[in-house]
């Protein structure tokens, strides 16, 4: 914030002048820092500067907002909420009981592609009202154990899912225990759509956070069965569903990547989804959604940034104009000494 006033360091120069005659040989070393006379730029809020700042911000913001909104609108997104529909009518009164029953709970959904979707198409599952950020939950993991085969018994943070049948659980903790276990299969026109489940997790996680030689052990062997089971012959670094799940979400509504469809989907394509409805979100009235989405330079479909930019940009321009009007209607000389009451005539009372 600078007001191109050439007053920078004028104060310093002034005081240096005034002290010049007092300088003599006895005078100790002079340094601008110790005398608090470092050259300084002293901007003030002049109307011109403030108005142009607001104007500039507004002018920058509106194009960015348009671009962001455009990007968000470009994204094609299919959202299918299925947690109620996938419960047979007769069980709708007691969903929790149904979901907790052993056995397969298949469900078929049909999706219509509203617009052409270019590959890669990301398949997400979205959970609502699921507190992955709950303190009891988010802490309940052992990074050491996940990374290192030797640290299998390092389960101190994992309570209450640390030990089962007297042996440590690998991977331990509530997060792993509650691993999402609905499965999806996609077909288009009765033709299987291949779903790439490789590379859905962060590369850094696969390589550094989850050990190549750490295998699931003793997992889901306790009295309470939480979520998915893991194949004990595959190392954790390749259990990408688990890796994705273990990246806890900060919000109670979140999407997690399930896989990628690597073919383009055409407009009005119908896609059959055969899913296994296993995961219990019914006890806490959580929603489950299946999401197919393309992506843009800003990420997925999210109008927030675009709208926010347009709003803020608009307000800035409005403020700039308002200040201009006020300035023109009611000009005010800056630094007018008559505003200093001690310069007024004290005889007035």
């Amino acid at each position: 914030m600078s007001s191109n006033v050439p007053s920078s360091s004028s104060g310093a120069a002034g005081s240096a002048d005034s002290s010049a005659p007092r300088r003599n040989s006895k005078r100790p070393k002079y340094s601008r820092f110790t005398q608090q006379e470092l050259p300084a730029c002293k901007p003030i809020l002049t109307p011109r500067w403030v108005i142009s700042a607001f104007m500039l911000v507004g002018i920058i913001f509106i194009p960015i907002g348009v671009a962001a909104l455009f990007a968000s609108r470009e994204v094609v997104e299919i959202v299918d909420r299925y947690e109620t529909e996938c419960i047979p009518e007769e069980f709708r009164n007691d969903k929790v009981n149904y979901i907790q029953k052993p056995g397969n709970k298949p469900c078929n959904r049909t999706l219509t592609v509203p617009k052409k979707m270019k590959q890669p198409i990301y398949v997400y599952y979205q959970l609502d009202n699921f507190y992955q950020n709950h303190r009891r939950y988010v802490k309940s993991r052992s990074d050491e154990q996940l990374r290192n085969n030797d640290s299998a018994s390092d389960t101190s943070d994992c309570k209450p899912e640390d030990y089962a049948n007297g042996a440590p659980i690998v991977p331990c903790g509530l997060i792993a225990w509650s691993l999402f276990n609905d499965t999806y299969n996609f077909s288009r026109n009765n033709e299987q759509l291949s779903l790439n489940k490789k590379g859905i997790s962060w590369k850094s996680d696969r390589e550094h956070k989850f050990g190549k030689d750490v295998y699931p052990k003793n997992f889901q062997n306790g009295t309470l069965i939480g979520g998915a089971h893991l194949n004990e012959s595959i190392p954790l670094s390749e259990q990408e569903d688990l890796i994705v799940w273990m990246r806890t979400a900060a919000l109670p509504t979140f999407r997690k990547l399930y896989g990628k469809i690597e073919v383009d989907l055409q407009i009005n394509d119908t896609i059959q989804v055969s899913l296994e409805n296993n995961y219990n979100t019914y006890s806490f009235n959580g929603k489950k959604k299946l999401v197919l989405s393309t992506t843009s330079w800003l990420g997925g479909k999210n109008d927030f940034l675009g709208i926010a930019y347009l709003t803020v940009g608009g307000i800035c321009i409005f403020l700039a104009m308002a200040f201009t009007v006020v300035y023109l209607v009611k000009p005010r000389r800056l630094g007018d000494p008559s505003y200093l009451s001690w310069n007024r005539n004290p005889g007035g009372h």
Binding site: M1, S3, S7, G11, G14, S15, S19, R22, K26, Y30, T34, Q35, Q36, L38, P39, A40, K42, I44, P47, V50, F54, V57, A68, Y131, N133, R135, R136, E161, L174, W177, S178, A249, A250, L251, P252, F254, R255, K256, L257, N280, S283, G299, G300, N302, F304, L305, Y309, I315, L319, F323, V326, L334, G335, D336, P337, L340, S341, W342, R344, P346
Partner: protein, 1105 residues
Amino acid sequence: MKRYVYINDDELSQDLYCDNRISNRKYTLLNFLPKNLWEQFSRFMNQYFLLIACLQLWPLITPVNPASTWGPLIFIFAVSATKEAWDDYNRYLSDKKANEKEVWVVRQGIKKHIQAQDICVGNVVWLRENEEVPCDLVLIGTSDPQGVCYVETAALDGETDLKTRVIPSACMGIDFELLHKMKGVIECPIPDRDIRRFDANLRLFPPFIDNDLCPLTIKNTILQSCYLRNTEWVCGVAVYTGNETKLGMSRGIPEPKLTAVDAMIDKLTGAIFVFQIVVVIVLGIAGNVWKDTEAVKQWYVLYPKEGPWYELLVIPLRFELLCSIMIPISIKVSLDLVKSLYAKFIDWDNQMIDQETSTRSHATNTAISEDLGQVEYILTDKTGTLTENRMIFRRCCIGGIFYGNESGDALKDVELLNAVSSGSSDVIRFVTVMAICNTVIPVKSKTGAISYKAQSQDEDALVQAAACLHMVFVNKNANTLEINFNASIIQYEVLDTLEFTSDRKRMSVVVKDCQNGKIFLLSKGADEAIIPYACAGQQTRTFTEAVDQYSQLGLRTLCLAWRELKEDEYQDWSLMFKEANSTLVDREWRLAEVCQRLEHDLEILGVTAIEDRLQDGVPETIETLRKAGINFWMLTGDKQNTAIQIALSCNFISPEPKGQLLLINGKTEDEVGRSLDRVLLTMRITTSEPKDVAFVIDGWALEIALKHYRKVFTELAILSRTALCCRVTPSQKAQLVEILKSCDYRTLAIGDGGNDVRMIQQADIGVGISGREGLQAARAADYSIGKFRFLKRLILVHGRYSYNRTAFLSQYSFYKSLLICFIQIFFSFISGVSGTSLFNSVSLMAYNVFYTSIPVLVSVLDKDLSEKTVMQHPQILFYCQAGRLLNPSTFAGWFGRSLFHAIVVFVISIHAYAYEKSEMEEVSMVALSGCIWLQAFVVTIETNSFTVLQHLAIWGNLAAFYIINWILSAVPASGLYTIMFRLCTQPSYWITMFLIVVTGMGPVLAIKYFRYTYRPSKINTLQQAERLGGPILSLGNIEPQPRSIEKDVSPLSITLPKNRNPVYEPLLSDSPNSTRKSFGSSTTFDFFPSQSRLSSSYSRNCKDN
């Protein structure tokens, strides 16, 4: 209680008293840790942080790694402890040096070389020239045949002149060899800290002369830490050793002073603490409710059905820990740091160096610079503070004839010179008294020039003047004085010296003229201590008039008198005097009583007038500070008339008709009471008048007023902007400070002498002038300056900047802590009110200690207005005095700002990073970077002047934030691994940052601009004027007004106490105004004071514009 010291007795008293080991240390190696920790934990803040840190050790409740609190806590403690340890180590080293110094001591009758720490009470210690005295000694022998030695007592009282010390009469003439074998007993009081008194007796055992009690005074001692000068050797008996010496007893650590700003910060901290408790309780209850209703349904959380008994407490305690960062742990460290820098700036200031003596200003107390900017009352001493304390003999009145009235210098007055040379007896006697009635020591240098070592500047001036009048005081050998008058030597034998005390206000000597054997009493003293004792029949009117006339000119007057004593009268009196001199209890009082018996029926010779010139720049300084709204009180030991004159000449009070002087006097309770009421009434009425009203009170009336009319006097003190208190004692000075302090005023006491020490220590800020009266005041003071005029710069520049800077720094510290804390609180609402921390431990710790501390620390270089502008518009100090920049309402502004910014950061972060992006670590880093960006811009917008350092700190800090997090992101083991790289490559991250900054700062800037332009404070207006170069700079110019006493010779409109009705008739006005106090407090909470209110307050400050 008494102490008996047996001289040279090796067996006795060995273990009775402590040895001579000096210890200034606070700690020992063993008790350092516990004692230091105990001291640090006696502060509330530290206790609080310790509690938080301990709670964090409980893994069930801690939201973050305990290191995030323990780290800073241990760091802070380590810093303070290291500082203490270093100081203590240095003290240990200097103690060790003193303790291991080799001295000669007599042991078993043989002189031995031992270490100073092994000296025992009763040992005979030998010292040579220029050696330091290792313990308190009673002299028993010197190299000088007259038994005199000279010591320099600078380390003790700061006085640089040499003082004479004599051996007791009983020891006079004892042979050098015999001193080894001397035996005797000294009866002395138990150790105390009074360096001016030593009431003891000495009795020598046979074979040493008479078995008589010999009284000892402080003149017979040499005290620890003095230096022996001009004397080949002395020997003395150790009476007090080690930490029981006078010096050791007077050592002590003064109470730490708390500034108003500190008190306000404590208050605000308390408020935040209460707020925090409320938040914790609310969230704790909400958390427990959520847990019981919702969390039981969230099967994946797996809450046990039956929890432990303390389960209800777990969530509130978690929130307590989460919210503990609301109170910034770094604030104390930051404040200590910047405060020591403020002090350094004072030390470094080249414009506050006294060029004559090249003494720098020094801030002894580094913690109270902000208070300088909030001073409301300045209580100043007169002599040496306002004046130079360089006494010059100017006029005199001898036997009714005035000398020096025309030329202004009696020494150049031809009539006086003629009178001296013609041998007029009155004049000769007068000059003789000038020359010998004193305690001055003439020192002959090798070239034959005589210089005088005097303890009092007045005596020095008189002796010098006498020398100019051909009465040269050439030599003083023990009891014999030699005077060279017109080339003939006259000798006098000094029989007794009746010393000056501030109660007696006079001193006398009894001398015997060696020529004719006549005995004379020569006295000099204040007029009221001499004139009433004039012999019957002498006309004292001319003298009273002379005193009045001189004091109206602001000259210091002394009356000189003499009386011839009859041999037997003197003998009788001498016995009484001797007896009084050897009493141990109330010796001073007894002596005064005995002296009184001799000092009567005096023949008054004349009056001397000594000028004490005003220091440079005193009137301008007072005027400027006056305009800044500071009230001045002058407390002086001088006479009323002199005080009034000095006050007039230095703009302290204005002459009629602009000023009005109200007199409070009276000798009895009733009189004083009536006088007080009358003055108070006048005062109440005239507060609405644009008039300088001041009251004058003398010590006697003050005593009564303080005793019986404390309430009335306090009210008067509040109403009065100016007061002159004359003839006050040091303790009264301190009492006055206390009265003002009890009315909640910030007081600054400034003085230069030992009599100001109590006042200086009592006041909120003590300023000492390192002047001619020694360094006593400067040592006791929080600040020492070389000249009074530096006070202006000290207050207006250093005090004001310090206050502004601290106000910003402290509120900013709260702002940034609240900001991050609010985000945590908001986050808890979307994390099941379970007390999850959004931020990781490292970020939290670094945020408080590092990311946000560095940029704000350079605000110590910020200047809202240039020094020149402040000096020209001292009225601007009002903002500091009234605490406009740091008070609950400004704090509420910062609180609101942090709430607003937290909402901005939180809402934008969770919306921009929703759905598939909502990864815990990423969202946390987005929110954290949002906070860092915002705080960089907040510091920017609140900074008034940018130097290179500011830019470096603000933007460098921002860069450092990214660099540090990139480094953390490169470590695979850290939780942050790759997060920051991931974010920085996302366009959405940068767009989010930009949005946060603009949304957060836009409204702040808009509001600030609006206020700045349409509701400018005085500071803003001056800033604009200063930077746009408006006409304002020429308006408030203060013309230097050189004034000196000489020019104001014309009689003044102030009528003096002779007027029976000393209270002036008030100019009646029908609106008794509200007191200053009431509107002071009402404006405190006012963000934009109405113009009228401000102007009315300023009008009082600017009456003389």
